[in-house]
């Protein structure tokens, strides 16, 4: 049949066009993004944490979030997980008799749960509009409620389960830690780091924080060392840079080095995160997923951009559908000629 021949010809032509479009395929493959040079972040050292939850309370105050009651008396803000109204939470690893702090067996350990501010955030990648954005300078993953369409793709995309939707409101928004960027212009850094009594949560440039974390890992457990509190000043910080931030610069004190897992969580995970973590308990047991150095955003965007590069996949799918449709069409032309088939 001539029609079939024409169709096949068309398919070939379409395929060639698609193949031509695939030539710049290499350009579609996307590498895992890296942290900006001046990335800001936090260092959370679980061995220093005393579980006082001052950071949880301070976070609520700084972000004007209401208390979340989970006990029958409705007396205490006791959220069970991060939510649209709880951006920061201290969770606790519990095992057996819970006798010793930072022991995996019969012990307990604390873990901060808040946005990790990934170098290559899945939430930003998944956002179909520009509501989730990573600041090119500070690297803070920020949220713009005016741009948000409420699809909650970011909620599903995050490997740490951080962006949360305010389901209790008809005009709900996404709630997540933004490193208190709304307070930066007044010279206030992250409220959690500002109040932390032991320096378990430390604010600073991620590069400096990473160096500090590695310094701690190199020390012997039990050894006394100087631990900074509040904001970690950069190595050779200029006075004008220091003046940007309020509060006492040197709050350091003497503390004992923890029995760390020899890994800085967030150094390489998904291309690195701007919030880094140290722990004496296995990170997976403390609720942090084991993530490869390649980000899922890079993988998914490579697949998608390759498939959609030059509209290759839509053309191929259209061609396939057309062929199927064509095959299934009953040639009714014969009826006009009359007579049974």
């Amino acid at each position: 049949m001539a029609t079939r021949r024409d169709f096949l010809k068309g398919c070939l032509a379409g395929g060639a066009a698609a193949a031509a479009a695939v030539v710049p395929e290499a350009a579609c493959a996307r590498d895992t993004l890296e942290r900006p040079a001046e990335a800001l972040g936090l260092l959370y050292d679980a061995t220093l944490c005393v579980g006082c939850q001052a950071c949880v309370a301070a976070c609520k105050r700084a972000n004007h979030n209401p208390a979340e009651f989970t006990t029958v008396d409705h007396l205490w803000d006791a959220p069970l997980d991060t939510s649209g109204h709880t951006f920061n939470l201290i969770k606790m690893y519990r095992h057996g008799t819970m006798e010793t702090k930072d022991a995996e067996e019969n012990g307990f350990a604390f873990m901060k749960t808040s946005c990790m501010h990934c170098a290559d955030p899945s939430c930003v990648s998944a956002c179909p509009v520009s509501a989730m954005r990573k600041d090119p300078e500070t690297g803070i993953v920020g949220y713009d409620p005016d741009a948000c369409i409420g699809c909650r793709y970011c909620v599903a995309a995050c490997p740490f389960g951080i962006p949360k939707y305010q389901y209790d409101s008809p005009t709900g928004q996404i709630g997540k830690c933004e490193l208190c960027r709304h307070r930066h212009q007044d010279g206030h850094y992250s409220a959690c780091a500002e109040v932390c009594p032991t320096g378990a949560t430390l604010f600073g440039r991620t590069d400096d924080l990473l160096a500090e974390a590695k310094r701690r890992l190199a020390l012997k457990p039990g050894e006394w060392t100087t631990m900074p509190r509040g904001r970690l000043p950069a190595k050779n910080e200029k006075p004008e840079d220091a003046a940007k931030w309020k509060g006492i610069v040197d709050q350091s004190y003497q503390a004992q080095v923890g029995n760390y897992q020899q890994h800085v969580y967030g150094e390489t995970e998904y291309g690195g995160t701007q919030v880094l973590k140290l722990s004496a308990v296995n990170f997976q047991k403390a609720g942090l997923p084991d993530l490869p150095p390649k980000s899922s955003a890079a993988t998914s965007e490579t697949i998608q951009h390759t498939l959609y590069g030059g509209l290759m996949m839509p053309i191929a799918v259209l061609a396939g559908l057309t062929w199927v449709a064509k095959r299934n069409v009953v040639p009714e032309d014969d009826d006009k000629k009359g007579g049974q088939p």
């Binding site: 001052a54 006990t71 069970l80 606790m92 819970m98 009594p197 004190y253």
Partner: protein, 401 residues
């Protein structure tokens, strides 16, 4: 005796006599006994026993030794007001030897000690204030030609009870601090606590100075029940030293809310915020300062209330050892139950009833599905038969035609 009603005792002749002796009104005397019973954490009814014991029993003889110390423990005792010290030492106990309070001196005093020990053999209470130097045979502290070691051993031999008052007597306290000289392994005089020298556990009332009521309550417990109160592993009476200062601190709410004084005199400090960041040792120090406050100076006068962090004076290894403004290590007896688990289970799982309903629905659906499938086959068969019938009749019709 324990069941006795305090009010019934009010007209008791012995109580009247005791109240007169203490120059208190009867009511005041009974209030004093009740306060002591409460400090001890004794059950209701015990205040009557305390009142009876204080009123009726022979005043216990107390021998009070001073070694390496600043007399701060005695000074704080002097400032107790329920009762005042002169009432305590003249009327509640019989203080037979006390170097600070004695008017006499020299051989006279030594003779008084010997007499008291002989007269009350096996009956007297020995109170030791101050650390005992042990280096070089203990030559660094001598009284009446005898070293502190000899004295404490001599006096403890026939004592009914030994009480170490103050941190120095408890474990060595401030004099036992090892100087930061390279190679130093002990204090210059080898200061030790009473139990180390005697080689047996004694009741300790640590503090610098200790709260006089903790001492007084211990003495009255002995007087009332003939035994010393229950103590912890370091010899500290549990009624006073079983809770962390942090647990009952009036500034605790500020700790929980993350409101800290950052510097002396800053805004937070003036507002009475938590002193943890200034080095408060409350979270690692066992004592009842935050409960009964200190001495009789009234509320707002114990160290934390007046704005200075706790230095941990009742805690060996904390007081006089850790720098005053270095951060405390929290001794959590138990972490907060409010902290969520890493993975917090939500909901309560399926109940038996819910599971049964679900199973019934699933069963019904499966049955219905099976029936529908069966009927589908049937209807198809019926259709076929109908068609065959029609075709048959058509064929017949055409044949007829």
């Amino acid at each position: 005796m324990n069941e006795q009603n305090l009010l019934a005792l009010e007209d008791d002749a012995r109580i009247v006599a005791a109240a007169d002796r203490l120059a208190m009104s009867r009511r005041e005397f009974l209030q004093f006994c009740t306060a002591l019973a409460a400090t001890l954490g004794l059950p209701q009814g015990a205040e009557a026993a305390v009142a009876e014991a204080v009123a009726a029993k022979k005043r216990p003889s107390v021998i009070w030794l001073h070694f390496q110390e600043c007399t701060g423990c005695t000074e704080s005792m002097l400032r107790a007001e329920h009762p005042t010290l002169e009432k305590l030492i003249l009327d509640v106990i019989s203080l037979d030897y006390h170097e600070t309070l004695f008017a006499a001196a020299g051989h006279q005093v030594e003779a008084a000690r010997k007499t008291a020990m002989a007269e009350n053999k096996g009956q007297y209470i020995l109170v030791v204030e101050g650390a005992i130097p042990t280096k070089d045979g203990g030559v660094y502290c001598k009284i009446g030609g005898k070293t502190a070691i000899e004295l404490v051993k001599e006096c403890a031999a026939d004592a009914a009870a030994v009480i170490a008052i103050g941190s120095c007597a408890s474990w060595g306290g401030m004099p036992s601090t090892i100087p930061s000289i390279p190679g130093a392994t002990s204090s210059p005089t080898g200061s030790s606590g009473v139990s180390q020298v005697l080689g047996k556990p004694v009741v300790t009332i640590p503090g610098c100075p200790p709260n006089p009521y903790n001492f007084l309550s211990t003495v009255v417990h002995f007087l009332t029940f003939g035994s010393l109160p229950a103590v912890d592993s370091q010899g500290r009476p549990k009624f006073a030293y079983s809770r962390l200062i942090h647990e009952n601190c009036e500034r605790r709410a500020h700790f929980d809310a993350g409101r800290f004084a950052m510097q002396f005199g800053d805004d937070g400090h003036r507002k009475g915020y938590c002193l943890y960041k200034l080095g408060c040792k409350g979270p690692e120090t066992y004592a009842n300062c935050s409960v009964i406050l200190f001495g009789d100076a009234g509320a707002g006068t114990w160290p934390v209330a007046c704005g200075h962090p706790c230095i941990g004076c009742t805690e060996q290894g904390v007081g006089f050892q850790k720098p005053i403004h270095s951060l405390a290590k929290l001794k959590n007896i138990e972490p907060s139950s409010f902290l969520p688990r890493i993975v917090e289970e939500k909901g309560v799982g399926a109940s038996l009833g819910a599971a049964a309903v679900l199973a019934a629905v699933a069963g019904a659906a499966a049955g219905a599905g099976a029936m529908v499938a069966k009927n589908l086959g049937l209807s198809h068969q019926a259709e076929e038969m109908e068609k065959a019938k029609r075709d048959g009749s058509k064929a017949n019709e055409s044949a007829e035609v």
